[in-house]
Structures are given as structure tokens and as C-alpha cells.
């Protein structure tokens, strides 16, 4: 007997409902006793420390390239002294958070999706469930909280390295002291530049962890589903990062930049 095809809208609604239930399960377990501190610290190390080189290198290069490309335009307008300010504002407000989040979505989101997907396929999650242990507490809560904490930290480090990249680019073509450069950078950014950007990185981190865990935890049986979980974790998290970015920019524009 052929299975009846389920309409796309119904699948989408079912998926959304499952995500809400998963989210509810996460929050319920966060505030329940028995938090897995050792696993949380391990995840922070895996997610934060082991991503630092990749995020740092990319941010450094982005700062360098941005400075090299901005300089000719500013020279044309006779505004080359605005270069540190332009760099600082663009890196702190947008480039730092977005680049870090996209890298983390690719590296961490896919990693979490594949790891949990593989655990699901090999019945490890099932073994935890039937033994009376709490896999949501051990696997999901720790990973989502670790990404929520570590993505903002990585973004801060990425911002600093991006500015260092800009300093190097400026010193390729001219000579500016580090003191002058960083003083100008810091003088050009204030609380309203930093705070919304920092807040959105918390949401980015949460979304990366949540989507990775949801896709991995709910992957269907079979090895194909592991790859699918990793892939769809990256795609969905990336999409959500841009959506959150657009929303936060709109809200912060209304609040701070009118």
C-alpha cells in the first residue's frame, strides 16, 4: 500500500511544532537540578578554544582586507584619517559578529549536528534514554549553553584581531603608531555600537547550538541522515543568523541611531 504524501505545509507545521517542544525541553532542563558542569566546561573548551585559531585568522584577514580596500576610497575623499574609525565601527557593529557567527555555524553547528546525529543512529541516545539518564541535560543543554557563551567571547577576540589586521594594513602603506591607531579606534566606538552587536552574538550562539542539537537529535536512522543533519544544521543556522541580524539592526537603529 503506497504511503500517502504529506503536504509540504503540514510537514513545515509539524517541524515547527517539534522545534517548539524541543525548545521547551531545553528550558525545562536548564532550570532543573543536576547541571552537567564537567560536560559544559568540556564543550566550552571544544567549541571556544578549538575554534579560536580559525575565527582569529579569519577575523585578522578580514580586518586587513577591509582596511586595504577602504583606504583608496577614503584617499579619494581626503578622509584617510577616518580609516581607523571606519574600520572600528564596521568591525565591531557588523563584520566581527557576522563573520564569527558564520564560521561557528559552519564549524560548530555542523559538528554538533553530525555528532548527535551519529549518536542517534548508533542508538547511544536511545541507550541513555532507556537507562533513565537524561540525554537532553547531558547532550543538549551543555552544548547550547556552551555555544551561547562562547560565540560572544569568540566575537570579542575576533574584533580585536580584526582591528589588528587593519593596523597591519595601514602600516603596509603608511606608518601609524599602535597607540594612535587603537586610541582612534576606541574613541570612535561607544556603548551604542558595542551593546547591540554583543547582544546579537548571544542570540547567534544560541541559534547555532539549538539548530545543531535539534537537527542531530532528531535525525532519522541511517548514515545518510548524519550528513543531512550536519548540512541542514549549517544552512538553517546561517539563515537564522541573517534573520536575527536584520531584526537586531532594525531595533538598534530605532533605539540608538535615529
Amino acid at each position: 500500500m503506497a504511503e500517502q504524501a504529506i503536504p509540504g505545509w503540514k510537514k513545515w507545521l509539524e517541524g515547527s511544532g517539534d522545534q517548539v517542544i524541543f525548545l521547551k525541553g531545553f528550558f525545562r532542563n536548564v532550570f532543573r537540578g543536576g547541571f552537567e558542569w564537567s560536560e559544559f566546561v568540556r564543550q566550552c573548551y571544544e567549541i571556544g578554544y578549538k575554534s579560536f585559531m580559525l575565527v582569529g585568522t579569519t577575523a585578522f584577514i578580514m580586518g586587513l582586507v577591509l582596511a586595504l580596500q577602504l583606504r583608496p576610497t577614503l584617499v579619494n575623499f581626503g578622509a584617510v584619517s577616518m580609516l581607523p574609525k571606519s574600520l572600528a565601527v564596521s568591525i565591531v557593529r557588523e563584520i566581527g559578529p557576522i563573520i564569527t557567527a558564520m564560521i561557528c555555524a559552519g564549524k560548530i553547528g555542523s559538528g554538533i549536528g553530525a555528532e548527535l546525529g551519529s549518536m542517534k543512529v548508533t542508538e547511544q541516545i536511545g541507550a541513555m534514554e532507556v537507562s533513565g539518564a537524561n540525554p537532553i541535560q547531558y547532550l543538549v543543554v551543555t552544548r547550547i549553553l556552551a555555544t551561547t557563551l562562547m560565540v560572544p567571547v569568540l566575537t570579542l577576540l575576533g574584533d580585536v584581531l580584526g582591528l589588528l589586521g587593519g593596523f597591519l594594513a595601514i602600516n603596509i602603506t603608511s606608518s601609524v603608531s599602535a597607540m594612535l591607531y587603537f586610541n582612534k579606534c576606541l574613541a570612535s566606538i561607544d556603548f551604542t555600537d558595542f551593546l547591540p552587536a554583543f547582544i546579537k552574538t548571544i542570540f547567534f550562539g544560541f541559534v547555532i547550538g539549538f539548530v545543531g542539537c535539534y537537527k542531530g537529535y532528531n535525525s532519522n536512522r541511517g548514515t545518510e541522515s548524519v550528513g543531512l543533519a550536519a548540512n541542514s544544521a549549517v544552512v538553517t543556522a546561517s539563515l537564522w543568523i541573517f534573520v536575527i541580524d536584520a531584526i537586531v539592526v532594525q531595533i538598534s537603529s530605532l533605539l540608538f541611531y535615529r
Partner: protein, 274 residues
């Protein structure tokens, strides 16, 4: 004289109560620990379980035989509450599994060990960490020396003391099954559910695992349901064999009885599995 008589009656009553308490704690061998009646489960249009009835007594080893896809694994997943039945009753220790709340289900699961076909070892942890996991997360033990003693004891019981610091990827199929068995036994479950414990193993290792299951059943005094295609495993471990076909139980008895069954379907099943 009367006071002596009263004293004797008093001690008799106290003794009776103590005996009753001990007997309740140990469990009565005629007590039904798993009761399944009219169990039904479907996945979409596929009716996997149509009408399953089974009673398992304390200390009994029941082997469920059947072709692939007849719903054997689904049955034990309903027992442990991993799947919710569409109809019928599944009672474990007199409690309806589907009606249990999350906390009660967790408490019930602490009394049930489930050995997966693959062993389902946590591959990011060493053997020691795999065995510590249920002790620290399920039994919530804190004393590290107690944890170490339990881990070492159960590994010795399954003959794998040397593998304590190995990763699951360094173990053979048979060793993984042994570690999986050790991990389920370490919490001292009252019921053991084995999902094809000898599948994928060579005949010698299969026999060793089957004998180990029987030894552990005697040592830990568990009630067991063993799902298998392996007739040697059934021969070694079974007190009673139940045969499933097309979502229903079609026969039950000892291995010898079923081999000589007058039912052609049962006999043909034995021929095909032997």
C-alpha cells in the same frame, strides 16, 4: 503459663511479618513482573503489532523468536516506554507503562536494563567512563571509591578487566557486547531486555555471550526477555520460547517442544532458523 503463651504468639506474629517483608523484597518467583495484553502498534499503514499477549514471571528467561520486521524489538521498546502503544496494556511491576509520568517512567527504567544490538557504547568515552555514566547519572553515586569498586567488579564478571581504559573503537564486536552488558548490569536491574545480543558475532563468541547472559542472569537474579534469531542462544538461555509471526504470537513452549510442534508454521520457522 498464659503469659508464656502470649509471648510465644507475639514472637510468632513478629516472625511472620519479618518473613513477609523479606519475601516481598526478594520477590516471589510466581509473581508476574511483565504483563502484556492485546498490545497493538502501527507505524503509518503498517500494523507491526496486532495482538500481543505475554506474561513474564520473576526470574524467568523468555526468548522471543521471529522473522525480521515481525515486531519483536517494538514489543520490548513498548515495555521500556520508548514507544507508546496504540492499544492494549503493558504493565511492568503492576504499573501501566504508558500511563506513567516522566519521573515515574525514569524510576521504572532504573529497574530495567536494555542491551542494544550494537551495544550502543558511548564512543567518546572510555570503557570506565561508559560504566561510570549510569552510576553517576542514574544512581547519582558520589563516592569515587564505591564507583571504582563497582566498575571493576562488573568488568571482572564479564571477563574484561584489562579493557577498562580502552576506547570502544579499540574493542571487538564481542567485547563491545560484553561492555554493553556490564553497563546495563552495573545498576543491578531487576529486568533485562536483550535486543539480538548475538547478531553479527562469530559462532564461538555468540556461544560465549549466550553463556554469559545465563551466568549473569543467575548471578544478578534478573528476569529476562531475549530477542534473537540465534537458536543456540535460545537453547542456552531460554526457560520458555515465544514465536512471533506477523505481529502476533503463534506458539510458546520449550525449545524441544517447539521443534516437535505439530504446527507446520512453527516447524518451518525452526527449520529456517536452524
Amino acid at each position: 503459663m498464659l503469659s508464656w503463651f502470649r509471648l510465644a504468639v507475639y514472637f510468632f506474629i513478629v516472625n511472620m511479618k519479618e518473613t513477609e517483608k523479606v519475601s516481598q523484597k526478594k520477590g516471589n518467583s510466581s509473581e508476574t513482573v511483565i504483563h502484556i495484553k492485546g498490545l497493538k502498534k502501527s507505524f503509518g499503514a503498517n500494523d507491526v503489532l496486532k495482538n500481543i499477549n505475554l506474561d513474564v514471571k520473576r526470574g524467568e528467561n523468555v526468548v522471543i523468536l521471529g522473522k525480521s520486521g515481525t515486531g519483536k524489538s517494538v514489543t520490548i521498546q513498548c515495555i521500556v516506554g520508548a514507544l507508546v502503544p496504540d492499544g492494549g496494556e503493558v504493565e511492568v511491576f503492576g504499573e501501566e507503562v504508558a500511563a506513567l509520568k516522566e519521573k515515574q517512567l525514569k524510576e521504572l527504567r532504573m529497574k530495567i536494563g536494555f542491551l542494544f544490538q550494537s551495544g550502543a557504547l558511548y564512543d567518546s568515552m572510555t570503557v570506565r567512563e561508559n560504566l561510570e555514566f549510569p552510576l553517576t547519572r542514574v544512581l547519582k553515586l558520589k563516592d569515587q571509591s564505591d564507583i571504582n569498586n563497582r566498575v571493576e567488579e562488573v568488568l571482572e564478571n564479564v571477563g574484561l578487566s584489562d579493557a577498562i581504559d580502552k576506547m570502544p573503537s579499540d574493542l571487538s564486536g564481542g567485547m563491545r557486547k560484553r561492555v554493553g552488558l556490564a553497563r546495563t548490569l552495573i545498576v543491578n536491574p531487576e529486568i533485562m531486555l536483550y535486543d539480538e545480543p548475538t547478531t553479527g558475532l562469530d559462532p564461538i563468541t555468540s556461544r560465549e555471550i549466550s553463556e554469559l547472559i545465563l551466568q549473569m542472569q543467575k548471578k544478578y537474579k534478573t528476569t529476562s526477555i531475549i530477542i534473537t534469531h540465534d537458536m543456540e542462544c535460545a537453547d542456552i538461555t531460554a526457560d520458555r520460547v515465544v514465536i512471533m509471526n506477523d505481529g502476533e504470537y503463534i506458539a510458546e513452549g520449550s525449545v524441544a517442544e517447539l521443534k516437535n510442534s505439530k504446527d507446520g508454521l512453527v516447524r518451518s520457522f525452526f527449520k529456517s532458523t536452524l
